[in-house]
Structure formats: C-alpha cells, structure tokens
C-alpha cells in the first residue's frame, strides 16, 4: 500500500495521467481517435523522440545539456543511409552509425567534463559544425533509395499494434531505468547532477560519469537516427532540425528537472509519447502541423515555469518553517547551567 502511495506521488504518474486524460478528451470529441490502431500510432510515432529523450536524459541528469542531438541525428542518418543505399552490409552500417554517435558524444563529454566549458555553448558549437558537415557529406542532396527491407521494417508490428521498434525501445527503457536506479554505478549519474561536490566527496568519479553520459547521449541519438532513416525512408539536409528542443521538452514534460539530479528515463519516454500524441491530435482535429512547434514551445515553457515556481515555493516554505521553529522554541532552550 505504501508502495502504491509512493508510486502515485511520482511525477511520472501525473504525466501518464495527463496522457490518459488527453486521450479521453479527444476521444469524447471524436471517438475514432480511440481506435487501437490510432492509439498505437501515437506510441509508434514517438519512437525516435523516445530514444533522443532517453539519451538527452543522461545529459540532463548530470546537470548539463546537449543541443547537438538533432544535428547528430541528421548527420548519422545521412551517413548510415548513404552506406545502406550503396549496398553495404546492414550490420556494418549500424556499427558505423553507433561509432559516429559515440564519437560525437565523446567530444562533447570531453569539452564539458574535462575542459569545463559550459555545456550549452560547447554543444552549440558542435551543433553548428555537424549541421555544416551534413552539407559537406551529402552536397546538399537528399539521401534516398534506401533498401526496401530496411524501410519496410519500420512498420513491422510485434505486440498488438505496436511496432518492433517501439516494443524493443520500451523494453530497453525499462531495463535502463532498472540499471539506473538499482545498480551502484547507475546511481552515479543522478548523484553527479544532484550535487557534484558531494558526489566527489563520496568517491564518485565525476569526470568519467559525465563523459559516459554524453557518450550515451550520442549513441542514443545514433540509434534514433537509424530508426529515423527506416521510418521516413529518406534523409534531407535539414533532417533532425529542432529535434534537440523536442527531446528537451519531452524530458521536462516527463518530470526531469533541468538543474539535474531528478527524474527518470520512464518519464522521458512518457513525455515523448505525449508530444507525439499532441502532434497527431493536431492533425486529427484538422489543424495545420505548423503549430506543432508552437504547442511544444508553450508546453515546455509552462511546465518549466510551473516547476520552478513550485520548487521555489517549497524551498522558501521550508526555510521559513525552519526559522519559525528556531524562534518559537522558547521552552526547549537550555537553561540548566549555573554560572
């Protein structure tokens, strides 16, 4: 019973609740939205953002940020896509993609953790470079004619109406969540973001943890890029533009605190589903998909402001209670000693 209580208090629970309520409301307006295939599509569509958000979560857990994941996706997808198109073995292509993602992550991690450069600035720089590299690599042309089995795989269902991609992703998320919350080293990420100085004092290798977080973020972006290529079927030169913002929004909506040290990958994945659902809902209701980014922007700002206000109020309340207690404690004083 206590466990259930703790569960319901979790931020992830309220995010999930929000999702259910959202579906219910839209369902009331148009019952077709609640068809199994329609609901499943909301989840399936979110697979790329889920992976990006989970990777971003690592960077945010340690108290930093990574705004290069969108460019990472675009670049890696371009490379992997072109290799696939040119007939290379798919295992080889995927391995190359993962390596690229890891390399980008390593560079970001090095800049932030070792050189101690503010993460926003550093990843802004790598973002710009990667965006340019996409053009260098593709000459501005689209990467098309990807092998049919590769693109067909995106729609392959596994469980109910959910695709293989999404099912495997969700299982992976659950496994990762368990690793992060139950293993000794898994807890390092959140600890570093919660209090870096304190983490150092209890012997946590903070620099190594930060670099690992960025490498993981890069690798997840690479995996996301492979799924992206499979789902969309072609890669433009502006692929992934703005995706970093969506990944951040998904994390925030899912209850991850941007100052680090709080949140879970489960929350990030719920946030991703919420965002995909909102996109689908807009289309479903007949609005132009142009407003997608606007709505995401509104959600992001609203949640972040509410979170900040709540945290500030809570902190202020605790401080004032403490002070009041100190002053009110007249009888508890020590009056026993005799001079």
């Amino acid at each position: 019973m206590k466990y259930i209580k703790k569960l319901t208090k979790a931020r992830e629970f309220s995010s999930l609740l929000f999702l259910i309520v959202l579906f219910a409301i839209v369902g009331c307006i148009n019952i077709n939205f609640l068809a199994p295939s329609s609901i499943a599509a909301c989840f399936n569509d979110s697979v790329v953002f889920t992976l990006l958000a989970v990777g971003m979560a690592f960077a945010i857990f340690i108290g930093e940020i990574d705004v290069s994941v969108g460019a990472n996706l675009g670049f890696t997808a371009s490379v992997v896509g072109s290799l696939l198109r040119d007939g290379y073995n798919w295992m080889f292509c995927f391995a190359v993609g993962i390596l690229i993602g890891a390399a980008i992550g390593l560079i970001n991690g090095f800049g932030v953790a070792v050189l101690k450069i503010p993460s926003l600035i550093f990843t802004l720089g790598t973002n710009g470079i990667l965006r340019g590299l996409i053009y260098v690599y593709t000459n501005g042309a689209w990467v098309e004619n990807l092998p049919a089995p590769f693109t067909a795989f995106a729609a392959k269902p596994l469980l109910a109406n959910l695709t293989v991609f999404y099912t495997v992703t969700i299982l992976a998320v659950i496994v990762i969540h368990i690793l992060l919350t139950r293993t000794k080293k898994g807890k390092y990420f959140i600890a570093v973001g919660d209090n870096e100085g304190g983490a150092l004092l209890v012997g946590i290798p903070t620099t190594r943890t930060k670099i690992t977080a960025y490498v993981l973020c890069g690798v997840f972006a690479a995996v996301a890029s492979i799924l992206y290529a499979s789902r969309i079927g072609f890669i433009t030169a502006i692929a992934g533009n703005g995706y970093e913002m969506k990944a951040i929004a998904a994390c925030v909506i899912g209850g991850i605190s941007l100052s680090g040290g709080l949140g879970s990958v489960i929350g990030a994945s719920i946030g991703a589903v919420i965002m995909s659902s909102v996109s689908r809902i807009l289309v479903f209701m007949g609005f132009s998909s142009d407003y997608d980014n606007t709505i995401t922007g509104v959600m992001l700002i609203t949640i972040v402001v509410l979170d900040a206000l709540m945290q500030r109020n809570a902190a202020e309340r605790i401080r004032r209670e403490r002070l009041k207690a100190r002053a009110a404690n007249v009888s508890g004083g020590k009056g026993g000693e005799q001079a």
Binding site: P118, I121, R131, Y135, L300
Partner: protein, 332 residues
C-alpha cells in the same frame, strides 16, 4: 578601466579582422572593392545588430536563443499589418517593435521573476515566437513561402540609402547602435548595474539594485534589437517572411562570446562584440566569395571558431597555465 587586458583582446580581434582583409583580398581582389565590400554588410548585419544587445543579456549570466525567431516575427507583422491590415508601413513597424519588446519581456519575466533557466525559456521561446510568426502569416492572403512584397519606396529606402553613394545605411545604423549600446553599457549607471548583477546578484541586491528588473530589461533590449534587424532585413529584401533570420543563433552567440563576454556573466564589451560580429560576418562573406565555399557549409568555420575561442580561454585561465609560463620564463 579594467582596461589593459581587455584592450589587448579587442586589439587581437582588430588584427584578425585586418588579417581577413589581407587574405581574402589577396585571394580575390574583387573583395576589396568598396562596392562589393559594403554590399556584403547586408548578409550579416542582423548578426551585428542583435549581438550588441545579446551581450547585455549574457553579461547578466543569461543567454538569448530566441532573438532569431523574433526577427521573423517582426518581419511578418510588418508584412501582414501593411498588406492585409491596411496599416501605414511605419505604424506596422512600430507595432512590430512593440510586439518584439513584449516577447522579450515575457521571457525576461520568466527568467528574472520565476527563476527559470534562461536557456530553457529562450529555447522554448525560439519555437513559440516562430510559431507566432507562422500564425500571423496565416492571416495573410499570400502564401507563407512567397512572403509579402511590394513595399512602398519610402520603406525600402532605409536599407538602400548610401552615404556618399558608397556607405550603406545598414552600416550607419550599426554605428549608431554601437554608440548607443556603448554609452548604455559602459557609461551609465544602468550599465554598471548590469555588470554588478552578472558578477554577484546577491551582492547587487544588498547594494539596493533591483536586480530582477535589470535582468528583464536586457531581454527586452535584445528583442528590440532583433526587431530592428528584422525591419532592416525586410526592407532590404523587399519581402516579409515569417522565417527570416532562422539560422542566426549560432552566429550571434559566437559573436558575443568571441567578443570577450564570459558566458558565466560579469564581463563583456560592446566594442569587442562589434568587432567580433564583423570578424564573423567578413569571414562568412570572404569564404563564400573568395574560396567559393557553399553558404550551407559556413556554419562549420563559425562553430569551429566558437569552440576554439572557448577552449582556448578555458585553458589559458587555468592557474596551472600561469604557473607553467612562469616556469618557462625562469628557465629561459
């Protein structure tokens, strides 16, 4: 005043600028032709305008990545206001500036009074205001991708006017803005309070400074500068588009950081930013004209420049480096 070290950084930027002229000029003499050189200004004048005032924001320790979206918003408001709203073009321009100021104030409010991180608010803002721009463009009869054109000559002239027939008005406006920004930041009490807030907000509070209002005001200034850039660009291109200025953010931030502003706040200089903006702008123009680098690739050198500057600064400011150099001096 904190003079000597800073002067040398600005000197350094000036030297780089001169080097650029030398290298690009040697590669392609056309580069040095006044007609060509001054015309190039149009490509990067937006960066120059906005970077000046994003400097204010970053000195307080914040950051502004929404300014680029506000450029487009301004542009489309002018277009729709004039074409579909029947407003006088100047009234539409003023409306656009006011709208921009409101956007800046909104974000500034969340940052200063609600305590939300600047990066997140302006990140959300960048998409929110781009979305607003799209919304506004939907009110227009014209298609979004076409943009709105056919502006009156009196409007277009503000970007076509040339002093002595050579110096474009954009450059003149830039110089005026530099003067205003310089006086505001380095010579007024307001500017001093911006620095103090950036160095230690608590201590500034204890000195009786209204720190939150100061922070909010910097975002308003940067938004207004984005509006001015939007007006200038719209006038020059003759078309109002909602996605004007879409990819400016990297260049703006690089200009501010390259100009000597610390991303942690407390330090910055208008002259430095102005020089850095020119360095970046000329770099882009020179690479594309003289080395035929495709425009799409130009973000790479800017990104590299940003990383080199911040990495270099991080290494140089470490105490170990000072000790290292002292050792070298002793041994030699």
């Amino acid at each position: 005043m904190k003079g000597r070290k800073f002067l040398s950084w600005e000197m350094f930027l000036l030297i780089i600028l001169i080097l650029e002229f030398v290298i690009f000029g040697a590669k392609n003499p056309k580069f040095l032709m006044p007609r060509v050189l001054f015309a190039s200004v149009n490509d990067f004048i937006a960066i120059c305008f906005i970077a000046l005032f994003v400097t204010f924001v970053m000195i307080t320790g914040g950051i502004d990545i929404q300014a680029a979206s506000i450029v487009g918003l301004t542009s489309i408001i002018i277009g729709v206001g004039w074409q579909d709203g029947g407003m006088n073009i100047w009234v539409a321009s003023i409306l656009a500036i006011v709208a921009a100021a409101v956007c800046g104030a909104l974000s500034g409010f969340f940052i200063a009074y609600c305590g939300v991180q600047a990066m997140v608010v302006t990140l959300g803002g960048s998409f929110l205001y781009a979305g607003f721009a799209l919304l506004v463009s939907n009110f227009s009869a014209s298609e979004a991708y076409q943009g709105i054109s056919g502006f009156p000559d009196s409007f277009k002239i503000i970007s076509k006017f040339k002093l002595f027939g050579v110096i474009p008005s954009q450059l003149l406006v830039f110089i005026v803005l530099i003067i205003i920004a310089y006086i505001l930041l380095h010579r007024t009490k307001y500017g001093r309070s911006i620095f103090l807030v950036g160095i230690n907000q608590e201590a500034a509070e204890y000195s009786g400074i209204n720190t939150r209002l100061v922070i909010l005001s910097t975002y308003v200034l940067s938004a207004v500068s984005a509006a001015l850039a939007g007006i200038m660009l719209t006038s020059y291109l003759g078309t109002a588009k909602s996605d004007l200025g879409a990819n400016l953010t990297l260049n703006i931030i690089t200009a501010v950081v390259l100009g000597g502003t610390l991303s942690t706040g407390g330090k910055g200089s208008v002259i430095g930013t102005a020089l850095a903006a020119l360095v970046i702008g000329i770099l882009r123009f020179g690479l594309s004209l003289c080395f035929r680098v495709n425009t799409q690739y130009l973000d790479i050198p800017v990104g590299v420049l940003l990383l080199v500057v911040v990495i270099g600064r991080a290494i140089v400011s470490r105490p170990e480096t000072a000790a290292f150099f002292k050792k070298l001096k002793k041994e030699s």
